[in-house]
Every structure is written in C-alpha cells, then in structure tokens.
Amino acid sequence: MKASNLFLILFAFLLGISAGLAYGWFIDPVDFYDLTPDTLRADYKTDYVLMTAEAYRVEQDPGSAARRLAIFGVQSPSTIATEALVYARANGFPESDIAILQELVTALQAWSGIRQ
C-alpha cells in the first residue's frame, strides 16, 4: 500500500472522529436527568439561595437555612451564601435582593462560628 493511501485513510479516520465529537458535544449532546443541585447554572443556584434568604428573613432560623443550602453538597452554608452574594453583586441584582442575601451571609457566618 502506498504511503499516500495510508495517509488518506488516517485522515479519513481523524475526520470521522472530529465529526463524531462535534456532533456528540455540540449538535446533539447527551440529555441528563436526575441531576444533583451542584450542577445547576450559577443564576439558578443564586436564585435558590435568594429564596432561602427570603424565608430566613421571616423565620430567623439559621439552622433551617443551612439545611436548605445543604443540597449543594460539601461546601459550608456560609460559603454557598457568600458565592451567591458575589454573583448577585456582579450581575446587577437589585439592592433589595443583595441586602437579603447579605443578611443571610452574616447570619450563617455567625451561626457557623457558634457551632465551631
């Protein structure tokens, strides 16, 4: 077999791999179900933390807020709330929402300190 033919075959093989990757990653990627909350997009995560903060504002129960945030995994509740606060500030959330998030962050930091 000629070297040029071998090269052509190798080229066709690589072309096929590229086409397969492009199709599988971008054109028709795998649909996932039954995901865990840590895979949520950052704005959805932030909105979840905001809901927790809204509930905390009335309930004033940092333990309950911490339990609600625990679905995001191994990070501490105050870290999760702080990340949401940073995202909210960086993405132009209204001051009222930022104030609520700030209140939750402060409460969870104090609560974490009490627990330690």
Partner: protein, 294 residues
C-alpha cells in the same frame, strides 16, 4: 478501477469508524460537562426540595408571580398537582409546616387571587433580576433617621424635701388575639349522604374536600369529635381515592360532628346508620361528606 474502488471503500470505513469512535467518546466516555444544568433536570427529591423552598419563600414574601416564575423552571406538567402531591408526602413524614406552606402556595395558584400569605412584607419598587419580578424588602431605617432622647437624673440638694409621688395602679391592657391567616372563604358542606355498602368497612365516614374550582385539596385538616373524644386527620393520605379524600371509622351508636380546621360548616349528629345486606343481615353503614369552597 478496482484499486480505486477498494481505496474508496477503505476511506469510507475509516471515516465511519472514526465517527463511531468520536460519538462514543462524546456520548459515553466524556459527555459534555454536567454544569449549567436547569432545575427541570434535577432528581425528583431535589425538585421536591426546590418546591419546598419556593413555598417557604412565598410564605415569607407573599410574592405569587415570583413563585409562579420559579415553579415554571421545574417544568412540571401540572405544578398544582405536583405541589399537592408533595404536600401529602410532607404530611406523611410529619413535616407539617412545610406541608402548610406548600398547600398555601397550591391554593394561591389555584385561586389566582390576592391570597393572603402566612406572612408578608411590604413590596419595594426595585426591579428584580431572575424573572423580572418585584422583590419584597422593607429597608431598615438609617441611624440618622432614629431619634435619641437623653434624660438626666436630677440631683438632690441638701435640705430639699422630696415629695412622695402617688403611683396610681392602672390596669395593664390585656393582650389581644392576633388574627390567624385564613385560606379564603370557609368551606360549605355541600352534601351529606348515608352510605349503605356491605363492601365498605362498618361505620366508614368518607370526606372529600374541594376548592371553588372543584379540584380536590390535599393537606386539609379534618376535625371529628364525639361525646367522649375527638380526632384530627388530613386529606390526601389515600391519593388513589383522590387528593382531597380522607376517611375515618365511626364508633357505633355514637353521634359524631365533623368540620374542617380551615373553617367550615359543621356536619352534626352523624350516627352510623344500620343497613341490611340483600340477605337481610344487619350491618353498620357510613356517611359521605363533601365540603367545597364557595
């Protein structure tokens, strides 16, 4: 010619094989990153948690449009049914506060009216980011806005006579009851019928609760009393018989009274009727009560 055909087929095979390898890698070995997912793709128990937090947030803010916008993210085929089903699950595991909040949200969505949330804060005019919905925050007063009054202690001068002050014993006003939020108009007892069915347990009292749209309501507390006792239970524990269904075995020869804790007309004098089988054997029948919001 034959060699060209062979080469063409070989190239086609190489291309197909490469595509297969690429697809396997992209779909099986290393699918696209699992970040940036939507709430609709969450596992069902995490969706439940999401709904519970939406309901808690609604209970705190009373912001129904925002709660609706958040619920749509979960892409439930029927959000109200999903909330009712979750309320039943919450009751089953003893999470009554969560069940109340979820039921309140379901009722509010059902009625689409100005439903009183258990707690509400006055809204502010800020535009919000996710969902473009107004948020509800009460700003704290700034320190400048607070007025302080300094009081001094009067000095006693030597020789000064101090007059005794007579303190009148004025009664302290008694605390008044804070009105509890209600879930809308009281329920009406729209039907009360004796049921004689030998296939049912003796003395079975069946209760079905509907809202104004004729939808069955889960998580509604039912209070039943008789001369020597009483019992409380909830609708929705037997979803196969309907979300708003509950039942109770009445005591024989005893008068029972039934009402809903949310406020309803009272069904009284419910004594299990004596029925007869086709063969003439006596047995205890029951009642079926239907409550509905007007």
């Amino acid at each position: 010619m034959k060699r060209s055909l062979w080469l063409f087929l070989t190239l086609l095979c190489a291309l197909s094989l490469g595509t297969g390898v690429g697809l396997s890698y992209a779909w099986v070995v290393s699918p696209r990153s699992l970040t940036d997912s939507q709430p609709a793709a969450l596992r069902s128990d995490f969706k439940d948690q999401f709904r519970a937090v939406i309901a808690a947030s609604y209970a705190a803010t009373g912001n129904l449009p925002r709660a609706q916008a958040r619920l749509t993210l979960l892409e439930d085929s029927n959000p109200i049914e999903a909330l009712n089903a979750q309320a039943q699950r919450a009751i089953a595991v003893g999470e009554f506060l969560q069940a109340d909040q979820i039921t309140a949200l379901a009722l509010a969505l059902e009625n689409e009216a100005d439903f009183p949330a258990p707690f509400s804060l006055p809204p502010t005019s800020d535009a919000s980011s996710p969902g473009n919905i107004d948020s509800t925050v009460t700003p704290f007063p700034s320190p400048d806005a607070l007025s302080f009054v300094f009081t001094g202690t009067p000095e006693i001068v030597a020789g000064q006579t101090i007059e005794a002050t007579v303190i009148l014993n004025t009664p302290t006003p008694r605390p008044t009851r804070t009105p509890m939020p209600t879930y809308g108009a009281p329920f009406r007892l729209v039907s009360q019928e004796a049921v004689c069915n030998p296939n049912l347990p003796d003395g079975l009292l069946q209760i079905v609760v509907y809202n104004s749209s004729r939808r069955q309501l889960a998580g509604v507390k039912v209070i039943i009393t008789w001369d020597t006792g009483g019992e409380e239970f909830f609708t929705g524990f037997k979803p196969e018989l309907g979300n708003g269904y509950a039942d109770f075995l009445m005591l024989p020869d005893t008068s029972h009274a039934v009402q809903l804790a949310l406020g309803s007309e009272i069904a009284v004098n419910l004594v299990p009727p004596v029925c007869q089988t086709p063969g003439g054997d006596p047995y205890l029948g029951g009642y079926k009560l239907t409550f509905q919001q007007p």
